[in-house]
């Protein structure tokens, strides 16, 4: 039974390869999610091992595909969705030869048919990619896939009031200057300029210097941005590697890249779209260098209004999980890659909003309360728009359990990432379920 089948033009086949290359920078495997909805029925995503970065490519039914057919049947576990995961390497090798057509121009692809055979009662469940080339040459790939539930990062766009947009080509030129060994990227707005600093912190083990400090700063005038709105002297730190991968791919799409964010230690989203591909990258940010006081926050902005709009109006994202109401903030000590305590950040945010005396809806929700129900298995309430890198399902990636930061903080039960996320009681171990006195009967 064919669950899903779609056809691609040669151009889309090449785009597919480009996005796979981009996804490969985030993780070894990619996840596919097919839905029956009209707008963007197929999403290809990747999540990195430490779960601090999430990349998603939503493909538009009309512009990206020649044809798209999804049979939502009752046999699917998720009802109207089909999800699977497969190795990026395998998919890349399927699409790779299309990228360098120079080698054998004769065997140019004319059409690419992809179908997924999903037969619960049979063993042959395969993702079948059929490359139809000229002269009757056909290349058929049958790839094994893993039927897993896909996780999506949730990003609350309404809370992310700050952001900028710039031509991807311009940004790509600047990115070239970042040192190849630098690890982190600091975004800062100061004096009408945006400062991108890539840096590596010095790590020393006794006398041996494990990592040499290195900094490359690039200053871009705010006027070079198509749009810019960011709080002055606020440091937002992301990974250079992720940033480079995103910018490199954005450049191939020939458009403008947007960033949306709220505050350090909160997720940041890069997005751009073209030729029927909606690209979104949600990255966890850090404020390693963020020792700056934010007491009287000023904004470096190209927006005409002096007041900060509560919702970013310029981006029109017709994505599904973007129009969600901001929920209560989850406990901050669950944040990824963050060693900050919840109360400090919460108070900082309160401070920001109060100092600005802006009717920012976000301030209503900065409770810092330990609302454990937020961490229930999120598949149940998919529309749960946390302001963190939250996940909409129990994602049992075995590799993710090796995330050192999670292990450092919560040494108990490292093999169950969902447990780590869902409950603070994970650190407390299991409650006794039986009184010792009740055990006597067994040995009497």
């Amino acid at each position: 039974m064919t669950v899903l089948s779609f056809s691609l033009t040669p151009d889309a086949t090449g785009r597919m390869y480009e996005l796979l290359v981009c996804l490969a920078k985030f993780g070894d495997s990619v996840s596919l999610e097919a839905r029956s909805e009209k707008a963007s029925p197929l999403t290809i995503t990747a999540l990195n091992l430490s779960r601090t970065a999430y990349a998603s490519f939503a493909l538009d039914a009309k512009t990206f595909f020649i044809s798209y057919d999804f049979q939502a049947t009752s046999s699917l576990k998720n009802g109207d969705r089909f999800t699977c995961q497969l190795l990026n390497k395998a998919l890349q090798s399927v699409f790779k030869s299309r990228a360098n057509e120079g080698r054998s121009r004769e065997s140019t692809v004319e059409r690419c048919d992809v179908s997924i055979q999903d037969q619960p009662d049979k063993t042959e469940c395969r993702l079948i990619v059929k490359m139809l080339c000229k002269h009757g040459l056909t290349k058929t790939y049958r790839l094994t896939y893993e039927s897993v539930e896909v996780m999506h990062a949730l990003f609350d766009k309404s809370a992310a009031t700050q952001g900028w947009r710039i031509s991807a080509r311009v940004l790509r030129e600047y990115v070239e200057f970042f040192g190849p060994k630098t690890e982190q990227l600091d975004l800062l707005a100061q004096d009408g300029k945006a400062i991108f600093t890539s840096f590596t912190e010095k790590i020393q083990d006794g006398k041996e210097v494990l990592k040499h400090p290195l900094e490359t700063a690039i200053t871009i005038h705010v006027e070079d941005f198509e749009e810019f709105h960011m709080q002055e002297n606020m440091h937002i730190v992301v990974s250079v590697k992720d940033f480079k991968a995103i910018v490199a791919h954005a450049e191939t799409m020939r458009g403008s890249i947007s960033a949306q964010f709220s505050f350090p230690n909160r997720p940041l989203q890069f997005s751009y779209q073209n030729s029927g591909i909606y690209c979104e990258f949600t990255l966890m940010t850090d404020d390693v260098r963020g020792a700056t006081s934010t007491a009287n926050a000023k904004f470096v902005s190209t927006r005409s209004s002096s007041r900060q709009p509560s919702v970013v109006p310029v981006h029109s994202f017709n994505r599904t999980y973007s129009e969600m109401p901001p929920p209560a903030r989850p406990p901050m000590n669950q944040s990824f890659g963050s060693q900050r305590q919840s109360h400090s950040l919460g108070s900082q945010n309160r401070q920001n909003s109060m100092a600005e005396s802006d009717p920012d809806p976000e301030s209503l929700f900065v409770s810092g309360g330990e609302d454990d129900s937020r961490w229930d298995p999120p598949a149940l309430d998919n529309d749960d728009g946390e302001d963190m890198l939250g996940w909409d399902s129990n994602y049992e990636n075995p590799g993710a359990s090796f995330h050192p930061q999670l292990e450092d903080r919560e040494p108990v039960a490292p093999a169950e990432p969902s447990l780590q996320q869902t409950g603070t009681q994970a650190t407390e171990g299991l409650e006794p379920t039986q009184r010792l006195s009740q055990l006597h009967g067994m040995f009497d």
Partner: protein, 359 residues
């Protein structure tokens, strides 16, 4: 045999032609060389599963002298032709000593201090030249092969613009291996295609790092509508790949536009054929696939695969630089691969196999 008259002497004005052909079979450490009146026969093999041979024909050399020793009396059988083995990498290195620009050149030994100085000199002298011109590729040089019978080294003398290199390659006693028998009169499959298609297919298959590969062929009579004529498939841990070709002048293949030339220029197959081969053997032939223009793929009824590559040899450039197309020579590189023994391999399997091949 007097010293003044060696057993064998050959002079080539283009070492590059010889390198091109010898690289096609450079998957083994040693190469067996047989000298005959027609030319130099080079044979390499991999276990006894696969063998490859190329003949450097007499016509490739500007002068070719082989003094076949006469038998003691006319009644005796003629003496066997001289056969020996040399290290293939050393031979290729020697021949490519002047062609600095070739990226495919095998790594040179770093222990030779004179080499770098010499290379720098060459680079300097050719600065500003097109690196792919015949001149800078060392085609203006000549190379001379000399062999003086059992136990003596194969002496290669390279000369270019007054710079000469002499190299004595130690010869080894040839291991006597019988060639893999291939029955030309009992063919199960014969097809001719451009070798880039075959290379492309092997590269696709290689992405799964398979251990073996299967060739399926279906005759016209037993083919269903839209079914391909020939398919090459392999499977690995991540899945399986199958590259299939439709037959020439087949009205029933929907994907091919009739105006385009078919991929399979010739396709002869009377019974459905299915054979499995070691993938590494086919990978060893990759270099030949890249160098050749056409390949004739044949499988005999015993399941031996013969790949015959037609390699066009660029003509030696003359002083004037004018090349006539009619000047082009062709050479053949042959590969023979024994099929893997398949317990299920039987004629009855063929009908079952046809259903797997149309995808």
């Amino acid at each position: 045999m007097a010293n003044s008259q060696p057993l064998f002497t050959a002079v080539s004005s283009s070492a590059r032609q010889l390198i091109l052909l010898l690289r096609c079979i450079s998957f083994a450490k040693k190469v067996q060389v047989r000298i005959s009146l027609d030319g130099l026969h080079f044979t390499t093999d991999q276990g006894s599963v696969m063998e490859a041979f190329v003949v450097l024909e007499k016509a490739l050399f500007t002068s070719y002298t082989y003094n076949h020793p006469a038998p003691p009396s006319s009644q005796d059988d003629p003496l066997p032709q001289p056969v020996f083995e040399v290290s293939l990498s050393s031979l290729l290195e020697t021949l490519s000593i002047f062609s600095l620009y070739d990226p495919a050149t095998i790594k040179r030994p770093s222990g030779d201090p004179s080499f770098d100085a010499f290379g720098a000199h060459r680079l300097h002298r050719h600065a500003g030249f097109d690196p792919f011109s015949a001149r800078s590729l060392g085609m203006t040089g000549t190379c001379t092969f000399t062999y003086d019978g059992d136990g003596s080294p194969l002496r290669i003398h390279m000369a270019e613009s007054g710079v000469t290199t002499s190299c004595d390659l130690t010869t080894y006693e040839a291991a006597s291996t019988d060639p893999i028998p291939f029955r030309r009169d009992a063919l199960a499959l014969k097809t001719i295609m451009r070798s880039t298609y075959l290379l492309d297919a092997i590269v696709e298959l290689a992405s799964l790092t398979p251990t073996e590969l299967t060739i399926n062929a279906f005759p016209q009579s037993r083919r269903q509508h839209g079914t391909s004529a020939l398919s090459i498939s392999a499977s690995g841990a991540l899945g399986s790949v199958s590259v299939s070709f439709s037959a020439p002048s087949s009205p029933s293949n929907g994907a091919a536009t009739t105006a385009d030339p078919p991929i399979l220029e010739t396709f002869q197959c009377h019974n459905s054929t299915r054979a499995r081969f070691s993938f590494s053997a086919l990978q060893a032939a990759q270099r030949a696939m890249g160098a050749a223009t056409k390949v004739s793929l044949r499988i005999d009824e015993a399941g031996v695969l013969s790949l015959q590559f037609l390699v066009e040899i660029e003509p030696v450039s003359n002083a004037g630089g004018a090349l006539s197309i009619g000047n082009e020579k062709v050479a053949f590189v042959d590969f023979r691969v024994v099929s893997l023994v398949d317990d299920e391999y039987a004629e009855e399997e063929d009908s079952g196999g046809s259903s797997t091949a149309d995808d």
